[in-house]
C-alpha cells in the first residue's frame, strides 16, 4: 500500500504530515537522517495507543459482563392446580391465577364451561381480564378484545391468546399447557 523506500524504513503516504523537515521521498532519496527520529515517535504513539486500548478493554469487559444479568433457570410449569374451587366460579365470571411465573385467566362461560387462557395480552404483555358485561376477554391497556376461544376480535392484539386445557378433578381445577 505504501511506497517502500530502498531502506525499507519509509513511511506510508500521508504520514509526513507532522514532520517539519523536508521529506526524503520528495526527491526520491530516502532521508536516513530524518527517519529514525520519526520512527521513535511513531513507536511511542503505537505503544501508548495499544496500552490505552488494552486498558479500556480490561475495564470495559468486566463492566459489560457485570451489567448483563445472569440467566436464572426458570422452572418450566406445565400444569398447576388453581387455588380456588369450581364452586368459586359462577357462570359468566373470570379469575386470574398464577401459571408458574406468568398470569393465567380462568373463565366460566355463561353456559357453565370452564376455559383457561394465558393471561398475557399478545399485543404488549399487559394482563387481560374477563368482562362480564361484554362476555369476552378484554385488555385494558390498549382496548384489545378476545372472544372465548382466545381469538383476537378487535383492537391491536396481533395473535390469539394461547389456550390451556382445564380439567376438573373433584374439588380441584387443574390447568395444563396443551401438549
Amino acid at each position: 500500500m505504501s511506497a517502500p523506500g530502498k531502506d525499507g524504513n519509509h513511511r506510508a503516504l500521508g504520514e509526513c504530515r507532522d514532520c517539519p523537515k523536508p521529506c526524503g521521498e520528495a526527491d526520491g532519496q530516502p532521508a536516513l537522517a530524518v527517519t529514525p527520529a520519526v520512527s521513535r515517535r511513531r513507536f511511542v504513539d503505537w505503544i501508548l495507543g495499544v496500552s490505552g486500548a488494552g486498558f479500556m478493554a480490561a475495564v470495559l469487559y468486566p463492566v459489560v459482563r457485570f451489567l448483563v444479568p445472569p440467566t436464572i433457570a426458570e422452572a418450566a410449569v406445565n400444569s398447576v392446580v388453581v387455588p380456588f374451587r369450581p364452586a368459586d366460579m359462577p357462570p359468566n365470571s373470570g379469575r386470574t391465577f398464577k401459571f408458574g411465573s406468568q398470569p393465567g385467566l380462568l373463565v366460566r362461560t355463561r353456559s357453565g364451561e370452564l376455559r383457561a387462557f394465558s393471561g398475557r395480552c399478545t399485543h404488549l404483555d399487559c394482563t387481560v381480564q374477563y368482562r362480564d358485561d361484554l362476555e369476552h376477554i378484554w385488555c385494558a391497556c390498549h382496548n384489545g378484545h378476545y372472544d372465548l376461544n382466545g381469538m383476537n376480535i378487535s383492537g391491536p392484539p396481533p395473535t390469539p391468546l394461547p389456550i390451556y386445557t382445564v380439567n376438573e378433578r373433584g374439588d380441584q381445577i387443574v390447568v395444563s399447557r396443551n401438549a
Binding site: 511506497a3 503516504l13 459482563r65 451489567l67 436464572i72
Partner: protein, 389 residues
C-alpha cells in the same frame, strides 16, 4: 454536517505516482482538528486553555504530598463508578439486602470484583484522605489565604467517614449490624439532644430495616452529593490560590512544573498504580460477606468497626464508667467532638503559621495525635479482652 467533516481531496492525488507528491508546507487542518474547532465554536472550551497554562506546581523537597489530593479525587470517582454498578443488583431492605449481595458475589459475572474494588477502594480512599489531611496539617498548608480550603477538606473527611459508616451496614450482615448498633448508640450519651440524634440516625429506637433504608439513602444520594459539592469548592479554591509552599522553603527561584500536562500525567501514573493495587487486592482478598444479620443473635466475639473508627472504639473501651462524676462515654464523645472542632478551626488557632512563622507546637500536637491514633488502633487489633478474674 458532512460538509463540515469531509476532508477535501488531497491537493495532488494523481493515481499511479502518489509518492512523488511534494509535502505541502502548511497542511490543511485534519478531520479531528476541524471537529475540535466545530465543537469549540459551540462549547468554548478553548477558554480553559489559559487557565490550564496558568496553573503551576512548585517543585521542592515536599512536592510529593501534592499528589495525594488528586489521588483522593480519583478514588472518589472510582467509588462513584463502582457504586453505581452495585446499584444494579443491590436491594435495600432487611429481607433482601443480604441475599442480593450474595447473588451479586456468586451469580453475577465479575460481581465479586466490582464489590471488592468498592470495599477496598473505600478503605484506600479513607487512608489516602487521612494522609492528605495530615501532610497538609504538618506542612501548614491551611494558613492564609487557604483557611476555607482546609475547612472544606475537614468537612470532606467527615462526609467520607459518613460514607464509610453508612456503607458498612448495607450488606446487612452480622458484623455490620452490631457495628452500626454501637456506632449509633454512641451519640445517645450526649445530654438532651443525644437520644434524639440516635433515633434520627436509626429511624427508630433500634437498628432495623428502617435504619438500612435510611443509611442507603444517605450512602447513595445525600453524602455523595455533599462530597461532590465540597470537592467542587475545594478544587476551585486550590485552583484560585495555587499550591501552598511550606514555610521555610525559599520562594525565590523556586522551580515550577506546569500542571497541564506535566503534573497531570504524573498524577495519572499514580492513579494507574492505585487501580492496579485495588484490582490485586480485590483478586487476592475479595470482600467477605459473612453471616446474615440476626437482631436476636448474640453479638459475635471480636466485633469492631472499620479500622478508621477503631481508635475511638478502643478509647471508649478503656474509659472508666465515671470520670469526675460524669459518664465515661460522655467524656470520650465530648473529647473527640472537641478534637474535631479544633481540627476544623486550626487555621485560626495557629496564629504563628498565619504570620508565616514556624509553629512547632502545633506540629508536635499533630504528631502526638497521630501517635495516639496509631497506638489505639493497634491496641484495638491486638488486645484480647481479658476475662473477668
Amino acid at each position: 454536517m458532512s460538509s463540515h467533516l469531509t476532508s477535501p481531496p488531497p491537493p495532488v492525488a494523481a493515481p499511479g505516482a502518489p509518492e512523488r507528491t511534494p509535502p505541502p508546507t502548511a497542511q490543511p487542518p485534519g478531520r479531528l482538528d476541524r471537529l475540535a474547532a466545530w465543537l469549540d465554536d459551540r462549547l468554548g472550551f478553548s477558554a480553559l486553555a489559559p487557565l490550564a497554562r496558568k496553573k503551576k506546581v512548585p517543585i521542592h523537597r515536599h512536592s510529593v504530598w501534592y499528589y495525594l489530593g488528586g489521588m483522593v479525587a480519583f478514588l472518589f470517582l472510582l467509588q462513584v463508578a463502582t457504586g453505581i454498578l452495585l446499584l444494579f443488583y443491590y436491594r435495600p431492605s432487611a429481607e433482601e439486602a443480604y441475599q442480593s449481595v450474595q447473588f451479586l458475589m456468586s451469580e453475577v459475572k465479575f460481581g465479586w470484583l466490582i464489590r471488592s474494588i468498592h470495599a477496598w477502594g473505600a478503605n484506600l480512599m479513607v487512608f489516602t484522605l487521612l494522609v492528605h489531611l495530615f501532610s497538609t496539617l504538618v506542612l501548614k498548608a491551611y494558613r492564609r489565604p487557604r483557611e476555607l480550603t482546609w475547612m472544606t477538606g475537614v468537612a470532606l473527611m467527615v462526609v467520607v467517614l459518613g460514607l464509610g459508616f453508612t456503607g458498612y451496614l448495607l450488606p446487612w450482615n452480622e458484623v455490620a449490624l452490631f457495628a452500626t448498633r454501637v456506632g449509633t448508640e454512641v451519640p445517645t450519651v450526649l445530654p438532651v439532644i443525644g437520644p434524639f440524634i440516635g433515633r434520627v440516625l436509626r429511624g427508630g429506637v433500634d437498628v432495623t430495616g428502617a435504619t438500612l433504608t435510611r443509611f442507603y439513602a444517605l450512602h447513595i444520594s445525600v453524602l455523595p452529593a455533599a462530597a461532590a459539592l465540597l470537592i467542587g469548592v475545594h478544587v476551585l479554591l486550590v485552583q484560585r490560590h495555587g499550591m501552598s509552599v511550606p514555610i521555610g522553603i525559599p520562594q525565590a527561584n523556586l522551580r515550577e512544573l506546569p500542571f497541564f500536562p506535566n503534573f497531570l500525567l504524573r498524577d495519572l501514573i499514580g492513579w494507574l498504580v492505585a487501580l492496579a493495587i485495588l484490582a490485586s487486592m480485590a483478586a487476592f482478598f475479595p470482600a467477605h460477606l459473612g453471616v446474615k444479620a440476626d437482631a436476636f443473635a448474640p453479638a459475635p466475639a471480636g466485633i469492631r468497626p472499620e479500622w478508621y473508627f477503631v481508635f475511638m472504639f478502643q478509647t471508649l473501651k478503656y474509659l472508666p464508667a465515671h470520670i469526675l462524676g460524669i459518664e465515661g462515654e460522655l467524656v470520650g464523645v465530648l473529647g473527640f467532638g472537641l478534637a474535631a472542632v479544633v481540627l476544623l478551626f486550626l487555621p485560626f488557632l495557629d496564629r504563628r503559621a498565619a504570620r508565616e512563622e514556624r509553629s512547632p507546637g502545633w506540629t508536635a500536637a499533630a504528631l502526638l495525635a497521630l501517635v495516639y491514633v496509631v497506638v489505639f488502633t493497634v491496641l484495638g487489633y491486638v488486645v484480647v479482652d481479658a476475662p473477668i478474674q
